[in-house]
């Protein structure tokens, strides 16, 4: 930040010398560069982190002016066009309201997952391959179990969890979703009321599996505790404490 010397008293030579990086970054953000110069400067900020940081600082310096600009009503059809660009299917208009509803299809998916889970509980496990720490359920298992819903911030269901305090297990059933773009993995936590979260290890985003609760955390499998899922680095699991964003949570139902 301090590479620009204090400006000498007004001279007009600044216009003829190539500008230093700080000024070039300002010019890029201000938008005064001609097309080729702009493209060059943009390419540089893709590969030169120091220059990119200068650009980012200029963007923030001018950001208050963007807040001044009045909104203008975007055309109604624009949303559909954006969906099309992203390759998302757009349902025919008359039923679009219902069928485009993510809440609806997530609910359908959740109900289907629940049905699959009930089958699993009554018939025993199939040959699934959980990613980590699983416990094969025994034969003497009761058929009916309460289900805890782990919801996203928008209220949609992300996982269903069935807690078995006697055996110290949690069956996790995800509503399948995309993997994290940054390569982080979902990690399950149990949070006893008023206490620190304890890791129960990684969970799958598209397969149901049983998680074995460590002996030290089994006393947390009680109503009042919360199950939460955060995105964490794939290495070092289970982690001592969460560091990433919470993507879903819900109260334990026993």
């Amino acid at each position: 930040m301090s590479s620009v010397p204090p400006s000498p008293p007004g001279d007009d030579t600044v216009g003829t010398e190539p500008p230093d990086d700080e000024v070039l970054a300002g010019e890029l953000v201000l938008g005064v560069l001609e097309r080729d110069a702009r493209t060059q400067a943009q390419a540089r900020s893709e590969t030169d982190p120091v220059f990119a940081a200068r650009v980012a600082r200029w963007e923030l310096r001018f950001a208050p002016w963007l807040a001044e600009i009045a909104p203008a009503a975007a055309p109604a059809l624009l949303w559909d066009q954006i969906c099309r660009r992203l390759g998302w299917r757009i349902e025919p208009a008359p039923r679009a309201g219902l069928w485009q509803s993510l809440i609806l299809w997530r609910t359908v998916a959740a109900v289907a997952a629940l049905a699959a889970m009930m089958l699993w509980w009554t018939r025993g496990p199939g040959p699934i391959v959980p990613p980590s720490s699983s416990v094969p359920p025994g034969a003497a298992e009761p058929a009916a179990k309460p289900v805890s819903t782990l919801a996203r911030g928008d209220g949609s269901t992300a996982w269903l969890a069935s807690v078995d305090p006697a055996r110290g297990t949690v069956l996790m059933v995800p509503v399948p979703g995309p993997a994290d773009a940054l390569g982080r993995v979902p990690e399950l936590w149990i949070i006893p009321s008023g206490q620190q979260p304890r890791s129960l290890g990684a969970v799958s985003i598209n397969k149901s599996h049983t998680v074995a609760v460590p002996a030290g955390a089994r006393d947390a499998l009680v109503p009042g505790s919360v199950l939460a899922i955060t995105l964490e680095p794939a290495s070092g699991l289970p982690h001592a404490a969460p560091s990433g964003p919470v993507i879903a949570k819900g109260p334990v139902t026993i």
Binding site: V4, P6, S7, G10, D11, D12, T13, V14, G15, T16, V23, G26, E27, L30, G31, V32, L33, E34, R35, R38, W58, E59, L60, R61, F62, A63, P64, W65, L66, A67, E68, I69, A70, P71, A72, A73, A74, P75, L78, W79, Q81, I82, R85, L86, L102, A151, G153, D154, G155, S156, G177, P178, D180, A181, I191, P197, V226, A228, V246, K249
Partner: protein, 189 residues
């Protein structure tokens, strides 16, 4: 940990929505669009002045948001600033890819579109940042001040500014660069 969870029943913030979009949540993406599209369209329209072009730019902005939401860092900027900056960048890129603009739009028209009253009341923090930028701009020599503001709101290149002012290109560059150096010194002493 539960403190970092966004509130579940009140309207989610743009920051929380972007966090969800980064995870591939389409419902959050649509909510973000409904919340922010008009503001961002206003920015695209201001730069491009033609509705068809502004619509194209806005589509590019939102497809970009879908793919790059994970790059948003709430420690550095508000979600609205991040989105607004992206919208202006896309609009300027688009403007530069178009054939040279017809020159009938006056500098005054371009500079005069800013109307703080037409925009929703800014947050206290945003208002203080606006005031600081305005104060630092006031400290500039009038010619530099006018040029920088016009360049920003009008999306003019150096050559366009020189043509409009009937001034030598080198002088225009010099005025703008001096202004930028002074502005930076004032904003970050």
């Amino acid at each position: 940990m539960s403190d970092s969870t966004p509130p579940e029943r009140s309207a989610p913030s743009a920051e929380a929505l972007l966090g969800q979009v980064a995870l591939g949540n389409r419902a959050a993406f649509e909510t973000l669009y409904r919340t922010c599209a008009d503001k961002l369209f206003g920015i695209c329209l201001r730069v491009l002045r033609q509705r068809a072009e502004a619509e194209e730019a806005l589509q590019e902005v939102f497809t970009n948001v879908w793919h790059k939401a994970s790059q948003f860092d709430p420690e550095r900027a508000s979600a609205m600033s991040w989105l607004s900056i992206m919208a202006r960048n896309k609009a300027i890129d688009r403007l530069r890819s178009l054939p040279a603009r017809s020159m009938h739009t006056s500098l005054e028209e371009a500079a005069g579109i800013a109307d703080p009253n037409a925009s929703p009341a800014p947050s206290a923090e945003a208002a203080s940042e606006q005031a600081r930028l305005a104060r630092c701009l006031e400290e500039l020599e009038p010619r530099r001040r006018t040029l920088i503001r016009e360049a920003f709101f009008g999306g003019f290149t150096y050559e366009e500014l020189a043509t409009r002012l009937a001034a030598p290109l080198g002088s225009v560059k010099s005025w703008v660069r001096r202004g930028l150096i002074q502005l930076r010194a004032c904003l970050e002493p």
